[in-house]
């Protein structure tokens, strides 16, 4: 409930905004009009109110004319409401005695009709003057920030964010779903454009994570529940059982050798199905933590109960293997969460005319990364499925990108990694390489020079999106090859090019469970399915949920330098909150007049932010002032009218409406 208290003294300020407003709205007459409104003691117009002298004007009037309410008619509150509130605060007035009127984005910028614009401005100022009389003095609440941070996802983004935070002395929980950290970067061979070995630059960081005293590393774990709000999140993490105790395992891997399966039989995810693993396995030799995992779906002991358990014997006195291990749930409190859950490669089977899964010698780029890698399934030899070395290779760009039928976006990294693979394959095999592209996108530092290098290596670049990959041979030279039919658009001819091996440059898309994850953390996804940032230009790492930040490919496809930069930015934003120690709320939360509340619970289900709890004993609803975002849904929905909202009280709104409708 609000009431106008005592002697109201309003100052009205009309901004020219250079000529943005004054060219269309008659600011002088508007200011004059302002002066005629009830309770207005001073009304001015000024060229740039947001500037220092402009704010001084307001502060001076507050002091000299003893103003207790201020109306500013200028640009959008999104831009300068904070500025003018500060002006009031430094001028000695409660900042919430300000009412801003938008006569730019909602007026002078949307019409050329000067009369209509001035008339609308007058209506808005009149309404604001009536409303502001009922504004109340409000205080911002401070919510303390717990200093710990959780980083979800242990790829390069998560690792870099975790290290940055840990190095500044904050405690980090790094949660990773796979048995090891490292993410996709651990699968790469060399990185563009410098051809640095991915493992060589990644493993030191992985090692640093393991040994950092401020990082609690939980691999083979997933977040299952998130409660709370910025500064005070309560997170439950489910830790799947490895059946090997991390603190006892020395990483000697004897158990792997000793396993009763002499030959590995099960698909190895790390090698993208190109190699096999045993039921007891480690993703790759430099895994962190260096502890194997037993897969209960394939281990004989778990499936039948009758195994010689040679692994346990091999472990010997360390007794690290514990088949009775159970899953555990940890619960921690953190102040901020950084999501670095990454992306997944596009499933090339969705484009049947490229032959993936149909012809054996059609590979995806990630598979070729493993082939080219010295510690991959073929020891670094680029060979076809039958062991032959390819003499000609086609690299098909834009598979599952820039395509209305699958994913509309450009996946950003594929042109560069296609060039990189072209170079590496040529180096390993001396084959004739053809890159089939629509555009070559090489914007980063050193990228164009890398493209030039490839051109000079006599890699063929054919501008044409591949129409089909087929085994149809029209000519003896095409027998037993895969034929690429494509229009060479630059030369203007349709070509048939037989090759031994086809590499599909698959795009990046959101993880399969992105939708579930985003619900868990209460953030939103953009139309492509990637997590949505707060502002595409000015706030790329924060989300609309305070305290939750994004880093890496989960926010959109990007390469390693951009991922690391983003991870650093997310860490910095989290640090800013932690070091500030508290976060201030906009005092626009709804509140329940408990004596009037009838306990019907209508509001509880309606709240999109889950900010209302129902007190069982008292049978009343209570709104969490920190979680409430002031959307007003419950205020409108409450059947007994017992919910009110600060900053948007009924009386204030009615006054504003009356102000608009009353002619003057």
């Amino acid at each position: 409930m609000s009431k106008a208290n005592g002697d109201i003294r309003i100052g009205v300020y009309v901004c020219h905004c250079g000529t943005n407003i004054s060219a269309v709205v008659d600011v002088k007459s508007l200011a004059a009009y302002g002066a005629t409104l009830p309770n207005v003691v001073v009304s001015r117009e000024y060229k740039y109110l947001c500037s220092d002298p402009g704010q001084d004007l307001i502060r001076q009037d507050i002091a000299e004319r003893k103003l207790n309410r201020v109306v500013v008619a200028s640009c959008s509150p999104h831009l300068h409401e904070q500025t003018f509130r500060n002006a009031l605060a430094t001028g000695g007035l409660n900042p919430f005695f300000l009412q801003m009127v938008n006569i730019r984005e909602q007026d002078s910028w949307v019409t050329e009709d000067k009369q209509a614009a001035t008339r609308k401005a007058r209506d808005l100022v009149r309404a604001a003057a009536r409303r502001v009389a009922w504004n109340e003095s409000l205080e911002r609440d401070r919510i303390p920030i717990h200093p710990a941070v959780m980083v979800v996802g242990g790829g390069i983004a998560g690792i870099h964010a975790a290290l940055t935070l840990a190095n500044s002395g904050k405690h980090v929980y790094l949660v990773e779903r796979e048995p090891t950290i490292g993410g996709h970067m651990a699968q790469f061979d060399k990185t563009f454009p410098t051809l640095d070995c991915a493992a060589c630059i990644l493993t030191p960081k992985m090692s640093a994570v393991k040994s950092h005293k401020n990082i609690t590393l939980w691999t083979y774990s997933e977040v299952t529940q998130v409660d709370g709000y910025v500064g005070n999140f309560k997170v439950k993490v489910r830790r799947w059982p490895r059946y090997i105790k991390e603190d006892l395992c020395s990483g000697c891997l004897e158990c792997l050798k000793a396993c009763v399966y002499k030959e590995a039989k099960f698909p190895d995810d790390f090698n993208v199905g190109l190699a096999k693993r045993k039921p007891i396995y480690i993703s790759f030799p430099q895994a962190v933590p260096q502890v194997p995992v037993i897969d209960p779906e394939t281990c004989i002991q778990f499936k039948s109960g009758k195994c010689k358990k040679t692994c346990i014997d091999a472990c010997g006195e360390r007794h690290a293997i514990s088949l009775q291990m159970e899953e555990k749930t940890e619960e921690v409190e953190v102040g901020n969460i950084i999501l670095a859950t990454g992306s997944q490669p596009f499933d090339a089977r969705r484009i049947p005319y490229y032959g993936y899964g149909v012809y054996p010698n059609v590979y995806t780029a990630l598979e070729v990364e493993r082939l080219v890698n010295a510690s991959g399934p073929t020891g670094g030899e680029v060979v076809l499925r039958d062991g032959r070395t390819p003499k000609s290779v086609a690299i098909v760009h834009c598979v599952g990108s820039r395509d209305e039928g699958t994913n509309r976006w450009c996946s950003r990294v594929c042109c560069m990694y296609s060039l990189k693979l072209a170079h590496l394959i040529k180096e390993h095999t001396g084959a004739d390489i053809f890159n089939f592209y629509i555009d070559i996108r090489t914007p980063g530092k050193g990228f164009e020079e890398f493209y030039q290098k490839l051109l000079n290596e006599r890699v063929h670049f054919v501008r044409g999106r591949v129409a089909e990959v087929t085994d149809w041979a029209l000519d003896p030279s095409e027998e037993n090859k895969l034929v690429i039919r494509v229009e060479d658009t630059l030369a203007g001819i349709v070509r048939r090019i037989p090759v031994d091996m086809v590499v599909l440059s698959t795009g990046l898309e959101p993880q399969a469970d992105a939708e579930q994850v985003r619900r868990l953390f209460n953030i939103t996804c953009a139309s492509g399915g990637f997590f949505l940032e707060r502002h595409p230009k000015l706030a790329p790492v924060s989300t609309f949920t305070d305290g939750i930040f994004l880093a890496g490919c989960c926010q959109g496809p990007k390469d390693i330098p951009d991922t690391v930069a983003q991870a650093g930015a997310a860490a910095a934003e989290a640090l800013a909150l932690i070091d500030a120690g508290f976060v201030e709320t906009e005092p626009n939360a709804a509140y329940v007049m408990e004596e009037v509340c009838s306990g019907c619970k209508t509001c509880v289900a309606m709240c999109p932010f889950s900010a209302i709890e129902f007190l069982q004993e008292e049978r009343k609803a209570r709104i969490n002032q920190a979680k409430c975002k002031g959307c007003g849904t419950c205020v409108a929905a409450c059947p007994s009218g017992s919910i009110y909202q600060h900053l948007f009280e009924d009386q204030q709104i009615f006054e504003e409406i009356e102000g608009i409708l009353t002619n003057a």
Partner: protein
Amino acid sequence: MASTYGYFPGCSARGTGVAYEESLLTLFRLLNLSLDELKDWNCCGATSYMSIDEGSAFLLSARNLSRARQAGHRELVTPCSACYLVLRKTQDYAARYPEIAKSVGDSLVAANLPPLDSVTVRHPMEVLYNDVGLERIKSKVVRHWRGGRVACYYGCQLVRPFAEADRPHDPTRMDELLQAVGVPTIDYSLKTKCCGGSLTGTIHEVGVRLNYILLKEAARKGAEAIVTICPLCQYNLDAYQGEIRKHAGEPLDMPVFFFTQILGWALGGDARSLGLGRAISGRRSIEEWFSKHAEEVESYV
């Protein structure tokens, strides 16, 4: 299961495609399905009408669909791919573009015909696959296949752009139907590559070459026959093998069947009522594969 479907034969059903109609009717009879020919049906216009006047093209189809509805048919089966496409396209475009819906609707009203919605356009291949089912067909097989391996050729307009009859890029329903009656099929990469349609009649060399490509690849993959679902495709592949033999030096003499002929034979139909004697190419293979039961493949002259 006795079912009656509306039947739209199309203009080639009694001309070059007569074997298709013969075998279709025989096969459906063996399966207790009846086809009720649409009275006074008109030509669907195929690709030619659409090239001259779009509105008239849609109207030709609308008239057929509307008459089908008037006759009480919920479903209209057409064996010809071009007819199938044009009828489906008319429905699709009338649903998506108000100007087409209006122009077609107005013309129908002026002719005292009901609106064209609610008739589903069907093709025999997917009718057999969806309505009859592989199991039922399998259970009615009375003859083993004694022929060679076949290449199932779908052509274009049945599977593109509408994907209801089968998948556009790798259709397999015909293969599955034939496999169900014991016919071995090959992996045919060109199964949806265009045969050129009417090009064999207009730009002859180009048309023939497209068919040469199809036949050669089928042979290369080990097929001894091609099985089709469209009368024009069958004609193109069948009628010019002599020319191909002469000009390309390729020793081809491959029978080109309609899938209804193969299925009809497996289910007990006789050679004559399946139109097996109407083939131009591959007559020797046909004699070998279909002649055991003292039913000679007769000539029709």
